[in-house]
Amino acid sequence: MSNNEIAVRTDGLTKRFGKFVAVDHVSLEVKKREIFGFLGANGAGKTTVIRMLCGLLLPTEGQGIVAGFDIREEPERIKRNIGYMSQKFSLYDDLRIEENLYFFGGIYGLDAGALAKRSREIMERLGLWSRRENMTRDLPLGYKQRLALGCAVMHEPKILFLDEPTAGVDPIARREFWRLIYQMAEAGTTVFVTTHYMDEAEYCNRLSIMHQGRIIAVAGPQALKQEYGLATVQDVFIHLVKGQEE
């Protein structure tokens, strides 16, 4: 596979906090325009991997290339090309929907014209237009989640990192959210998404299953199910994790 078809590649990526090994020699490849699912229980090390890939944490060991740039050498250039949505939908409660979008677009250096155009586009596409004057604190959780997604893509990133984007949201809002993720992938964005909802894992093009800092399986959901002869990704996941613990 040629290098310009790869969005993210890591090689022996490791992060230790003192003696605790949060991420243990993780090597993976994510293709462009792929929806790459990152599965694992809480504390498996998913967030730490994402943070290293986004330039928020320095790896203790190992290499990583994101959007063609080295995570140690060129974090600034990576930051221009990625969008990141953290676990807790980090938005400003006392700002209106539009103001949140303007702010996050603004810190990526978008000019006034681009801010107006992009924020309108996003609000229409994500179904936020009718509530654009609403204060963020008054929004239902599903709206906040979509707004957080909108804030992360204001600058039209090539790669989108979503860290448990659907945590705590009702099933209908979750399905709606995945529809948006599909749209973005079709439009050419690479999506790197962590989750612990196994039904969501079925939506991904490829999956990696992480357990105690290590990757224990990488494949498409169909391939995984066939390999282990199980009906759902959930069964595969439980089978693999149990196998590790024995």
């Binding site: 930051k79 807790k88 603004g106 810190i107 250096g109």
Partner: protein, 370 residues
């Protein structure tokens, strides 16, 4: 604004202004609180003692002893509220705080004055409050010295002290205390505002969201702090206006000079706030740390009330890292004495040094934390 700051810094600054304006309750508090505290401090830290309550025990009961006490009662500093008969009453009166001190005139007071022989007058003072006790003793000694001079027909003392008080001729405490309050508030408000606003972003996770963007560290700091420079400047102006129009504190120097030098102080205080934000995990912590680390040191160790010269050496050393120490010289100098830039600039240098030091540590920790 955009062109001057760069669009990313401007975006951050604009958002910060929205935060400030959307929270009018806090805004009112930070403007009203200084005024309330000024009323309390301006009047309560009144070191001018007036109408000190005295007891008088007159063993002589002669016309001259009565004249002595009447004149004492008529003086603006004292008021004889109790005529005592027995000695043991003094203690009870002082204990119940109905009097602060007592004057005892011995038997034969009038006679010995007439003969111009040395006449002892006993003064008994409540020493529990050492500061006031000293002032009372000084006042009484001055009064008695004056009185004995007026008795003798010839001026026996060849030397006479004639004091001319410069800069605060009325010796009004407010003139001394109120400019100091500006220093206290600016420090407290600046440190608290910046540390809390950054701690809030940490708490809600928005700081992480900002840090994955290509924004630079200095852009975050400038964009975050700049709106608070303006806000602090406004607060400072309100306090100063209040002290000028309400407390009638004189303003002898240049307003422009004070305004521009205040910016250095505000900058130092904001840098300190930034430093606090890097050590506090959440808003409450930031609030507590900034209150504790500003109010007490600024009030105790800056020369705001207690003269630095009379402090133990160690505390004097500590005072060198307290920015208010230098700003107090600036603001009191400019307001009360009309100090000019030529005299004031050396006080700005240590302020700049402290600001640079705070910023350096803050910038370093800022990087480590994230």
């Amino acid at each position: 604004m955009r062109r001057l700051l760069g669009s990313r810094t401007a975006a951050l600054a604009r958002k910060e202004v929205i935060h400030i304006l959307r929270d009018p309750r806090s805004l009112i508090i930070i403007f009203i609180l200084p005024l309330i505290m000024m009323m309390i401090f301006g009047y309560a830290i009144d070191m001018d003692l007036k109408n000190i309550r005295l007891g008088a025990l007159d063993h002589d009961r002669s016309p001259s002893s009565r004249a002595f006490l009447e004149k004492l009662h008529a003086s603006p500093n004292f008021e004889i509220t109790r005529r005592l008969v027995r000695r043991d009453e003094i203690k009870t009166m002082i204990l119940s705080r109905s009097i602060r001190a007592a004057v005892v005139l011995p038997e034969g007071f009038g006679e010995s004055i007439r003969q111009e022989i040395l006449t002892p007058i006993q003064v008994i003072v409540d020493g529990a409050d050492a500061n006031s006790a000293n002032i009372i003793i000084n006042f009484l000694q001055a009064y008695i010295a004056d009185y004995s001079l007026s008795l003798s027909t010839v001026h026996l003392q060849p030397l006479e002290v004639r004091v001319r008080m410069l800069y605060n001729p009325g010796m009004k405490s407010a003139n001394f205390v109120v400019p100091g309050l500006v220093a206290v508030f600016l420090m407290m408000v600046c440190a608290m505002l910046t540390s809390v606003t950054i701690a809030r972003e940490k708490e809600t996770g928005t700081l992480e969201q900002i840090l994955v963007s290509p924004i630079r560290k200095h852009e975050v700091i400038i964009g975050k702090v700049l709106p608070y420079v303006v806000l602090s400047f406004l607060i400072g102006s309100v306090i100063l206006g209040f002290s000028y129009f309400w407390f009638k504190v004189p303003f002898r120097g240049s307003v422009l000079l004070l305004a521009s030098l205040s910016l250095f102080y505000i900058f130092t205080a904001l840098a300190f706030g930034l430093l606090i934000s890097t050590v506090s995990p959440n808003q409450q912590m930031a609030m507590v740390i900034s209150l504790v680390s500003t109010i007490l040191p600024v009030i105790m160790l800056s020369g705001f009330i207690f003269p630095l010269a009379s402090m133990p050496r160690v505390l004097q050393w500590v005072s060198y890292v307290i920015p208010a120490r230098y700003f107090l010289l600036v603001i009191r100098g400019i307001m009360l004495k009309g100090t000019e830039i030529g005299t004031a600039w050396p006080w700005i240098l240590p302020l700049m040094g402290l600001a640079a030091w705070f910023l350096l540590i803050a910038a370093r920790r800022f990087k480590l934390k994230l």
